[in-house]
């Protein structure tokens, strides 16, 4: 009888922010205010966190995340460190591939078998907030002293859904251009290309130095991330901010997708690059340039290849790149229990402070201040620091993550495979996406 997970903690009489101001002012003791604070039982746990360490009975928190790549070991190390510093909190770490993660999380949360805390992508926060899987964390953000001024606004704003903050930012990640240093020096290229012309020039030089196809164009992952980056570079926007329409079928979109297909037509890329082949080929030295996520840095280091990393070249009118961000969340399930809620917040708060050490995972710290620390300035990914000011995030629209794979990603696939012209591929997908988004607005808005 401990309350259904559907109860929105935000509807309670005393706003958490108000309550927090009281507690933060030192009038109430944070640790023991718990059970009686707001309405007792179901939702009080969310309401009175002040940043003070959890000091209740020992418990184990279930922590879910999708750090399966080069970022996995770095997260394991952080969890271990947290557990060794906290006697009364143990962490049961469950790592699931991101693709499965967003399927399982709502199902598990619905069944009451979900995690207490976890990490998810910024663009999924709104969806899961709308589904009542996760709860607002305004009090935690305040207790941690998270301020908008310490973040670039694209990371800050989408964490807020219907006026409440649902995620505590951990990092920012984007895609970058990787290049094979050996191939570059053999072809006589001294600097990584910075625009369309120098990229083409490099491809030609690489071809004459013996690399038949220097720049493989994927048609599946991460092709849509490349497309989105290029779309923004050409001055386009993929979606209307209010989630009512897909707008990537304009001139900018056509130019972006057209340029991607052009790399195949000009012979810089082979036809029909299969899933992951461009990346595998890069590690094998079969191509020279590939665009991929910065989370691959650890994996590339382990492969032993002599690679360089650089900012994406400016193909359109100005520098822009797709980005996403990992945010910590707490589930409605944990919020039902004061102890779990406070322990969860202690965990998230602690993790949030490790933003700089998370650079070991190949990521960019979310906080501006953490980006000045040596852990980041000495990292491989520091080479693309210029790109940070030009990052673009998808708008916080519930259900967008379900729409994109069946529309935009298909169009990019068709365009690069040459099955359809960029115009046809994009306009068909965009009109379908607009219709699906309309249905979502209805579904989540009601």
């Amino acid at each position: 009888m401990n309350g259904s997970p559907l109860i929105r903690p935000t509807r309670s009489g005393l706003s958490r922010r108000g309550f927090l101001t009281v507690t933060a002012g030192g009038l109430l003791l944070a640790g023991c205010g718990g059970g009686k604070g707001v309405g007792g039982g179901t939702q009080s746990g969310v309401g009175n966190f002040t940043g003070k360490e959890y000091d209740g009975p020992a418990l184990t928190l279930a922590y879910w995340n999708g750090f399966t790549g080069g970022d996995g070991p770095a997260m394991q190390a952080l969890v271990k460190k947290f557990v060794s510093e906290h006697d009364n909190i143990d962490i049961e770490n469950n790592t699931v591939e991101w693709a499965d993660f967003y399927q399982r999380l709502p199902a598990a949360a619905q069944a009451g078998k979900g995690p207490d805390v976890g990490a998810m992508h910024l663009d999924q926060l709104a969806t899961n907030a709308a589904r009542n899987v996760i709860v607002p964390l305004d009090d935690l953000a305040e207790a941690l002293g998270l301020e908008e001024s310490d973040f670039t606004s694209p990371v800050w704003a989408p964490g807020i859904y219907q006026g409440k903050r649902y995620g505590i930012p951990l990092d920012v990640h984007t895609i970058a251009m990787y290049y094979n240093k050996e191939h570059f020096s053999k072809a006589g290229i001294d600097a990584p290309p910075t625009d369309a012309a120098s990229l083409e020039d490099a491809c030609k030089k690489l071809q004459s130095s013996g690399v038949e196809n220097p720049f493989w164009m994927p048609n599946q992952w991460p092709a849509h991330l490349m497309f989105l980056s290029l779309l923004w570079q050409f001055g386009g926007e993929p979606y209307a901010e209010d989630g009512s329409a897909a707008t990537y079928d304009d001139d900018a979109g056509v130019q972006a997708l057209g340029w991607m297909r052009e790399q195949v037509d000009k012979g810089y890329s082979p036809d029909n690059v299969d899933i992951d082949a461009q990346y595998t080929a890069f590690k094998n030295g079969q191509n020279s340039i590939t665009w991929d996520g910065i989370w691959q840095i650890n994996d590339l280091d382990a492969s032993g290849i002599d690679y360089g990393i650089a900012t994406l070249p400016v193909i359109g009118s100005s520098l822009a790149a797709w980005a996403n961000s990992h945010h910590f969340f707490m589930t409605a399930q944990a919020a039902d229990d004061t102890n779990r809620a406070n322990a969860g917040k202690t965990f998230i708060g602690w993790m949030s402070d490790q933003s700089a050490s998370w650079s070991d995972a190949g990521m960019i710290p979310a906080r501006n201040s953490a980006r000045e620390e040596p852990q980041f300035t000495d990292s491989t990914q520091y080479a693309i620091k210029d790109q940070i000011e030009a990052l673009h995030f998808l708008p916080p629209v519930p259900g967008l993550g379900d729409v994109q794979p069946q529309t935009l990603e298909v169009a990019v696939n068709e365009g690069i495979l040459g099955k359809k012209s960029p115009e046809d591929a994009l306009s068909g997908a965009a009109s379908n996406a607009t219709e699906l988004m309309g249905k979502n607005l209805e579904k989540f808005g009601g």
């Binding site: 048609n219 029909n272 299969d274 899933i275 082949a277 080929a281 379900d402 219709e435 579904k443 009601g446």
Partner: protein, 299 residues
């Protein structure tokens, strides 16, 4: 009293299975029907009743779900059309050889059955690597012997269908072959002796004794192969991920994506029902054809 008692006994004996059948087959089927009448997202509190709207959307050529769904049904159809004949004929040939007496027969049997013990994930991932257009072993060897080495096995049609059908036949033919083998071993040897005495050739013995005797087995193999092929999901999910575009996305793939990934359970349930009805019709036709053929032979 005895009648009553015996029928009670029968029900008692059936009870354990009926319980499982009811809980894990019948109930979900009926729940699916119920879900298909709603706009059902299990993560949301509101699941409005929409009547037949989900079905209407799947049959309305102007709706956003029409093309993806029927394209996936078509993909399932293409796959079934090509795998079923191959999985009826090839395993029969293999079973005939397995049934002969020769040295190394057990090894031969094991070699053909072995792929079947692998899971779809193993099979899919392995062939995805082998069949890669640019860095796969298959194209590399084809090139080495002077054949075209640039076939996009996983991202162009019809090559992707050749790959998916080929891999599926390689993977599952052992199972059908074993069923045929059991059927072959059930045919009384006297029939063949009698035929030999009458001067029948091997071919006519096969045509007039083996095939007719195998009719029930063949019908069984045909039906389960049709159902298995129509339920294809793992191979295209892992090997092609539906590419190119969504050309190799099968009906089950579509249903799984719609229901479990996009949380549109209502529409997914409606699609499942349409697929189920289509399969039931197809099975009935196959059944009728075999019956018809049987009565013609008996006459």
């Amino acid at each position: 009293m005895t009648r009553r008692g015996s029928s009670l006994t029968a029900w008692l004996f059936l009870a354990p299975y009926l319980l499982l059948f009811g809980a894990f087959v019948l109930l979900p089927i009926l729940l699916g029907l119920w879900i298909s009448l709603h706009n059902w997202d299990f993560t949301l509190p509101g699941k409005p009743f929409v009547g037949l709207d989900n079905y209407k959307a799947l049959f309305d050529s102007g709706s956003v779900s029409f093309d993806p769904f029927w394209k996936s049904m078509q993909a399932t159809g293409i796959f079934t059309l090509f795998t079923v004949p191959l999985l009826i004929v090839v395993p029969l040939a293999v079973a005939l050889v397995m049934n002969e007496k020769f040295r190394g027969r057990n090894i031969f049997r094991a070699v053909y059955f072995a792929p079947y013990v692998l899971g779809v994930a193993v099979v899919g991932v392995m062939w995805r690597f082998l069949l890669d257009r640019n860095i796969g072993a298959v194209n590399s060897y084809l090139g080495a012997i002077g054949l075209p080495d640039d076939t996009a096995w996983l991202s162009s049609v019809p090559a992707a269908w050749v790959a998916l059908v080929g891999v599926t036949v390689w993977w599952t033919l052992g199972f059908n072959a074993v069923i045929y083998l059991a059927g072959l071993q059930d045919i009384p040897l006297e029939l063949y002796e009698a035929a030999r005495v009458d001067g029948a050739s091997r071919w006519s013995a096969f045509w007039h004794i083996t095939l007719p005797s195998l009719r029930p087995v063949t019908m069984f193999v045909t039906l389960i192969t049709i159902i298995a092929s129509a339920n294809m999901f793992g191979q295209s999910f892992i090997m092609t991920n539906g590419a190119p575009a969504q050309d190799t996305r099968t009906a089950i793939f579509y249903i799984a994506e719609t229901g479990l990934q996009n949380f549109q359970m209502g529409e997914a349930a409606a699609a499942s029902w349409i697929l189920t009805v289509a399969l039931m019709l197809l099975s009935a036709i196959v059944f009728a054809l075999f019956r018809l053929r049987g009565t013609m032979e008996d006459a």
